[in-house]
């Protein structure tokens, strides 16, 4: 497979600065050199390519848009472009980086004490420690406010009880950011639980046909005692975990484009070389061109959406409903592109000689996690009507 040249129909690159283009180039080369040659094997065997973690750390992918603690301090646009390229490789790999950066490093960075920050952020940035984020529960997905996990203070300890499910990195995490209701009027707070804490158990979810190159787990807390100093002191209310999700969703909005680009590029190459009817390439068929034209048009619109939300974020003006539109639209573009690409590749679209079916299966998860497609519609709906329609 030749090096990926990118997808740029309207001189999109002229809107990027040199640092942004270089960051994308680093991630693009990393994906071409290190991810694409091995990812189908990991996907088939349902194993995570953990050997890539130290290299991704060296390249500065973890917490790339945070300041200090060894982080790269990139702009949000550069960070987004890195996420795009990683998801062009695999949604599972991008999920790993999203969780490490946006759902573990970000809450420690934003809500943590100085001691928590100086202990964990350098370890997480350098990949020497891995983190996970426990918000979703078996019975509470779109409505995290209904969570039943509780933290009860007892002297200088907190005692946690509850179940978390669908947790990326759960069993490989050295530290889990777990959200629980407290005795303070059911206020939701964040807690750090270290690997090996008595009463804390993580187990893998098996039988996944999506994100197979990523670890997905359940967390179980039974009278799990942690020092009171493991409370994230600045966290307070459901707003705190939602702020984390907003960070992650922003990266996912770029990631969906990466998966879309992989499918588009693969389908385009295929359509130009696959011949049918009088030895003509199927790219000469109008119905095939219709699909390819749809893909590049939606990718191009998605790029502009992602860039504008990124520029707003860099200016401190990105609101959660902006990020909702980005995540909702671009993951949908990714999934629809995968489906159209599968159609163009015919039977070849369902085998892992090509990336299509892997991306399609992955995107079914991405479509649902971090706020389902429909929930994001309701967030946009609430913004424009002023009426919340969640219940």
């Amino acid at each position: 497979m030749p090096a990926f040249p990118g997808v740029d129909f309207i001189e999109f690159d002229s809107l990027l600065n040199d640092e942004e283009k270089l960051a994308r180039q680093t991630a693009r080369q990393f994906v071409d050199d290190e991810v694409l040659p091995i990812i189908e094997k990991h996907n088939r065997e349902a194993t995570m390519p953990t050997h890539l973690i130290p290299l991704m750390a060296d390249l500065g992918f973890f917490g790339a848009n945070l300041k200090g603690y060894g982080c790269a301090e990139m702009s949000n646009v550069a960070y987004g472009l890195v996420m795009q390229e990683l998801e062009r490789g695999d949604s599972g790999l991008r999920s790993f980086v999203s969780v490490q950066s946006a759902l573990v490093m970000y809450p420690i960075y934003t809500f943590g004490s100085d001691a928590q920050k100086s202990k964990w952020l350098p370890l997480l940035q350098s990949g020497k420690a891995i983190g996970c984020f426990g918000l979703t529960e078996p019975q509470f997905g779109s409505n995290p406010g209904g969570m039943t996990t509780r933290a009860v203070k007892k002297g200088d300890r907190y005692i946690l009880n509850g179940e978390k499910l669908w947790i990326t990195n759960g069993t490989i995490a050295d530290v889990s950011v777990v959200w629980a209701k407290t005795e303070d009027n059911d206020r939701v707070r964040g807690f750090l639980i270290e690997r090996g804490t008595p009463g804390f158990k993580a187990y893998d979810i098996h039988g996944k046909w999506s994100l197979r190159a990523s670890v997905t787990s359940g967390l179980s807390m039974t009278d799990c005692e942690i020092p009171a100093a493991n409370l994230l002191p600045e966290s307070g209310g459901l707003k705190s975990p939602l702020m984390c999700l907003n960070q992650a969703r922003y990266g996912i909005g770029w990631g969906g484009l990466g998966a879309a680009m992989a499918c588009y590029y693969t389908a385009l190459q295929y359509a130009k070389t696959r011949t049918q009817f009088n030895n003509k390439p199927i790219a000469s068929h109008q119905l095939v061109q219709d699909k390819l034209a749809w893909m590049i048009t939606e990718i191009t619109k998605g790029q502009l959406l992602a860039l504008q939300v990124g520029r707003l974020k860099d200016a401190g003006r990105a609101e959660h409903y902006h990020v909702s539109m980005l995540k909702m639209n671009n993951v949908w573009v990714g999934l629809e592109s995968a489906r159209k690409a599968r159609d163009i590749l015919g039977a070849n679209g369902i085998v892992d000689d090509y990336c299509i079916i892997r991306h399609m299966n992955n995107l079914e998860s991405v479509y649902t996690y971090e706020g389902t497609h429909d929930i994001h519609k309701l967030i946009i709906g609430e913004r424009i009507t002023g009426i919340p329609a969640y219940a």
Partner: protein, 256 residues
């Protein structure tokens, strides 16, 4: 040890090239540009020599504004500073004009070693390094596989034909053309990219160098080769035909 690395920016691999009617160069709008891959090996070699012997690495590139990105990439990988010889009509220069301009920029400073890639991925003349050495009055060696520096002299491993190598000695300063593939160029890390923002790029308009760069040769026309199809029947026993096929796959198709 102060090292200059000459780096060219070339059209990105697999860029969809368009040639204007009767044109002598490609249309530059619509396509991306990247660091000339052979020069990437020269840069990596320079960075490794710096890590071993100290000193600084300076990335030098010539061309329009866009080549700043190539210089920034080199600085993101570890070059200490950059020199940009600004010329919007760079593509019109022949290798002698390029070498004269680079020599004039390099002569403003004092370098112990000047590295280039073996050739560029666009015009592919493979001349600039050789000419540069001559113009600077420095010794030169090409197709370098390994550099060992000791007591102000270098032991150099060169690649010859048919799998042969040669060790030679050369004094410093010198100009070397580096063989592609001799090292694994590092990535620009995100921190390196941010650090490069603070590094200096000196811009020198090529016109200000006072160099006569009138082309001594001229590209008349570039064109896409016409596609031809040739069928050849391999004769002999299955064993003989298979041996011939392997030879052809190795040396003609070069896929083995």
């Amino acid at each position: 040890m102060n090292i200059a690395v000459c780096i060219k920016q070339v059209p990105a691999k697999d860029a969809p090239l368009q040639i204007p009617e009767g044109g002598a160069w490609i249309r530059e709008t619509d396509i991306g540009f990247e660091t000339n891959e052979p020069d990437g090996y020269a840069l990596e070699e320079a960075l490794r020599l710096k890590e071993k012997h100290g000193g600084e690495v300076v990335a030098i590139s010539m061309g329009p504004e866009r080549v700043k990105q190539t210089i920034k990439e080199a600085m993101a990988k570890g070059a200490d500073r950059g020199i940009h010889v600004v010329d919007d009509k760079f593509f019109q220069l022949d290798p002698l004009g390029s070498a004269r301009s680079l020599a004039a920029a390099i002569q403003k400073e004092k370098f112990d070693l000047i590295l280039t890639g073996l050739q560029s991925d666009d015009h592919g003349f493979g001349q600039t390094g050789v000419l540069l050495a001559e113009l600077l009055g420095l010794p030169h060696a090409t197709i370098i596989m390994q550099i060992e520096v000791q007591d102000g002299r270098m032991r150099l491993k060169r690649e010859l034909e048919a799998g042969w190598f040669q060790w030679m000695e050369a004094p410093l300063p010198a100009v070397l053309s580096i063989q592609s593939g001799i090292n694994k160029p590092r990535y620009a890390t995100l921190k390196g990219i941010m650090a490069a923002k603070k590094k200096e790029i000196a811009s020198i308009p090529r016109a200000s160098l006072g160099v006569d760069a009138t082309p001594t040769q001229k590209v008349e026309r570039i064109y896409v080769p016409a596609k031809t199809k040739k069928t050849e029947i391999l004769t002999g026993t299955a064993r003989e035909a298979a041996a011939k096929l392997v030879e052809k796959l190795k040396h003609e198709a070069r896929v083995l």
